[in-house]
């Protein structure tokens, strides 16, 4: 007795431990679904995919098989009860799946079981062994690991014996489980139950509900994991879309804000704006909102950023909701930005579509997909406020998710936002995402003196010193300039008042310069005149001097002559021999020497 109790205890303990082991899951390969389900569908178990008509159940089942065969090397079997294999192939061929190739390579087996109720007469006891045999044959022929039954409820229309049918269904699911085949079973949604015929009684490992609803004339598809035994899963409704690559489910973003941030600063493409942002520009991987009224230059600013980024060799994705690709390119070329060259070089992916074309979830899904495909370093959405027309109150939560996603990938996000006219409302962004944004650049119009001039200022920029100046925004074919406005005695002048004032100052400056020049000239003239005068005086003086010297000289010469004569006369008078006239003459001549 004690031994047995111990054995039972041990069993319970061991079974208790086994529930802590994680459930073995099979990846579907369907974008987003593996994230929501925590790794995929349960291995070796059956999953019910239910929904209304046209929800995408068959698509999900088929994609599960095809991707299993192509990506995970798990061959699959599709047993179709409603469409022929050719029809099936055609349906998925439009999605780019080459089913025929998989069939040829023995990775996929398409079986079509046709049940025509009018043909069948029930006489006595029977079971559905034929189905099992068929299934076994199909599974053996390709070595399948995955099975899709679409749709099992066709059996209910073919065979009226409910009791037999239910017993056989139970047997079927056990059969699939015994062979460790991961199965997807599609079913129509019932009125009050998940499936019309209550299949969920037998299959309770995992149930996925697909929904396709129309709201405001726009269709949205949603997916919900109603039940997934043994694992935690996202229990919300997730929007998904079906496009050329199959099904994509909007991925779950991490709920914890554990993003890595970058310290690197990148230029906005406008030198003056970089100056206003601490001199270096914005942080890489941050989010920027450029808001303003119509025509305030938001698209142009974002295009400048793109230009600068592409010049650095960084890939950009530009999503436009207002203007077509060619229109933006044309408009930007008028300010000297050639976006076409970056598109050609593959550095810019430029997509545009109308916001009213899809629901909000589809927009965001498309953006997600583009981001995954293109792997840009910067994403521009112009404008983000157009999405409110498509989505309403959900836009905020969707944008939160998108921003989260972008931050986790360190992708810089630039959103432009169109605000209503009226200067007070400019800071009340319609979408209300301003608290999520790191840098907010506001474009405001100043009206003064019969003119309206565009001004730009940085409302906030987290993590850096930024200017609080309101600068005038000027666009020309040489690009964008943010000119500091003239701060006059009483007011700030912008526009033509500023240019007028600047012109006036320039003129004043010129006049002053002119004056100085004139004075200098006058001075030099005077100097010249003065010098000329001096020269003349000197000349006069030297002439006089010369005259005087000549006179002196003459005088001296006369004096000497006179002296000599006097001497001579004295000698003559004294009667000495020497006083003979010849002698005196020679003596005088000798004295005179």
């Amino acid at each position: 007795m004690a031994k047995r109790a111990k054995a039972v205890e041990a069993e319970i303990a061991s079974s208790g431990e086994s529930t802590f082991f994680p459930l073995d899951k099979v990846q579907t390969g369907i974008k987003g679904l593996d994230d929501i389900s925590g790794g995929g569908l349960p291995r070796g178990r059956t999953t019910i995919v239910c929904g209304g008509p046209g929800c995408g159940k068959t698509m999900l089942g088929m994609e599960f098989l095809i991707r299993g065969a192509e990506e995970f090397n798990e061959p699959g079997v599709l047993v179709a009860f409603e469409e022929t294999p050719q029809e099936m192939q055609r349906n998925v061929a439009s999605l780019g799946f080459d089913v025929k190739k998989l069939i040829d390579r023995k990775k996929l087996f398409l079986d079509y079981i046709y049940i025509e109720p009018s043909e069948i007469q029930e006489t006595g006891d029977y079971d559905l062994e034929g189905l099992f045999i068929r299934l076994q044959h199909a599974v053996d022929s390709v070595g399948a690991k995955r099975v899709c039954l679409d749709t099992l409820e066709a059996l209910f229309s073919g065979f009226s014996n409910d009791g037999v049918l239910r017993a056989e269904l139970r047997r079927l699911f056990r059969w699939l489980k015994d062979r460790n085949l991961t199965t997807v079973v599609t079913a129509e949604k019932g009125e009050k139950t998940l499936t019309r015929h209550g299949l969920e009684e037998y299959v309770s490992d995992c149930v996925i509900l697909l929904d396709h609803r129309i709201r405001d004339q726009i269709s949205t598809r949603r997916l919900r994991i109603v039940k997934y035994r043994g694992t935690s899963h996202g229990a919300d409704e997730y929007p998904f879309l079906i496009d050329r690559q199959g099904i994509s489910v909007l991925p779950v973003t991490s709920l914890r804000m554990e993003h890595e941030v970058s310290l690197e600063r990148v230029s906005t493409g406008i030198a003056d704006l970089d100056e206003m942002l601490g001199g270096k520009g914005i942080y890489r991987g941050s989010s920027v909102l450029i808001s303003g009224t119509a025509g305030s230059g938001k698209t142009t600013m974002s295009a400048s950023f793109v230009d600068a980024a592409c010049r650095r060799g960084e890939c950009c994705l530009f999503v436009g909701f207002e203007e077509s690709v060619s229109q933006v390119a044309r408009n930007m070329s008028s300010v000297g930005l050639d976006l076409g060259q970056w598109t050609r070089k593959g550095l810019l992916a430029h997509e545009a579509w109308r916001p009213t074309q899809y629901g909000i979830e589809s927009h965001l899904l498309r953006i997600h997909k583009l981001v995954d495909e293109v792997k840009p370093e910067h994403l521009i959405i112009d404008p983000v406020t157009n999405l409110t027309g498509a989505g309403g109150e959900e836009v905020y939560s969707m944008l939160v998710r998108l921003l989260d996603y972008l931050k986790s990938r360190k992708i810089t996000a630039i959103f432009t936002s169109l605000t209503a006219n009226g200067s007070e409302d400019l800071e009340k962004s319609e979408v209300g995402i301003s608290s999520l944004i790191d840098t907010w650049i506001l474009c405001r119009d100043l009206e003064f003196n019969g003119e309206r001039n565009r001004c730009v200022f940085v409302l906030k920029s987290r993590g850096m010193a930024h200017s609080n100046q309101i600068r005038e925004f000027l666009m020309s074919d040489q690009g964008i300039r943010l000119v500091p406005p003239y701060i006059g005695a009483e007011r700030v002048l912008t526009g033509s008042s500023r240019t007028a004032q600047e012109a006036k100052e320039k003129a004043d400056l010129l006049v002053r310069q002119h004056e100085i020049e004139q004075r200098q000239e006058a001075l030099s003239r005077k100097r010249n005149a003065l010098e000329a005068q001096i020269k003349m005086l000197r000349a006069d003086f030297s002439a006089e001097e010369q005259e005087l010297e000549r006179i002196i000289h003459q005088q001296q010469a006369r004096e000497r002559v006179l002296e000599a004569e006097r001497d001579a006369m004295n000698r003559v008078r004294s009667g000495s021999p020497e006083s003979s006239p010849d002698a005196t003459m020679t003596k005088a001549a000798g004295d005179g020497k």
């Binding site: 069948i120 007469q121 006489t123 029977y126 034929g130 068929r134």
Partner: protein, 123 residues
């Protein structure tokens, strides 16, 4: 030539082609064996040899079930005369089998009263 008259008035003449029947079974289960014996009996009683019977064992040849889209076991398929009729079950309900093989009117089989007398009365 003896004219064989069936109780509902249809006659089988020797000019009519024989009925082509195929019985799908899965192994030697009691149900399959019961179906086979029931079938042989019904054929002996009503078809008087004017039939061709093929017994296919899907366990041995699984792919043969694909052509006739066999899901239930046992299934009796009547290929000729057209249209193709499928009768599933161990064939214990003789009335239904005969209706299925188009050897009896549908309404008559549905009613609980013995049919032979009723139809005989019609004649």
């Amino acid at each position: 030539m003896k004219k064989k008259t069936k109780p509902n008035g249809k006659s089988i003449s020797n000019h009519e082609p024989p009925m082509k029947l195929r019985l799908y079974v899965a192994g030697q289960t009691p149900r399959s064996l019961a179906a086979l014996s029931n079938l042989k009996r019904i054929c002996a009683q009503h078809l008087d040899g004017k039939y061709e019977l093929e017994v296919i064992d899907l366990i041995k040849n699984p792919q043969l079930g694909q052509g006739d889209q066999i899901l239930a076991i046992p299934t009796l398929v009547r290929n000729l005369p057209q249209p193709i009729r499928k009768i599933i079950g161990d064939l214990s309900n003789e009335e239904r089998v005969l209706v299925g093989l188009n050897l009896r009117e549908e309404q008559a089989a549905r009613s609980s009263a013995p049919t032979r007398k009723a139809i005989g009365a019609k004649l």
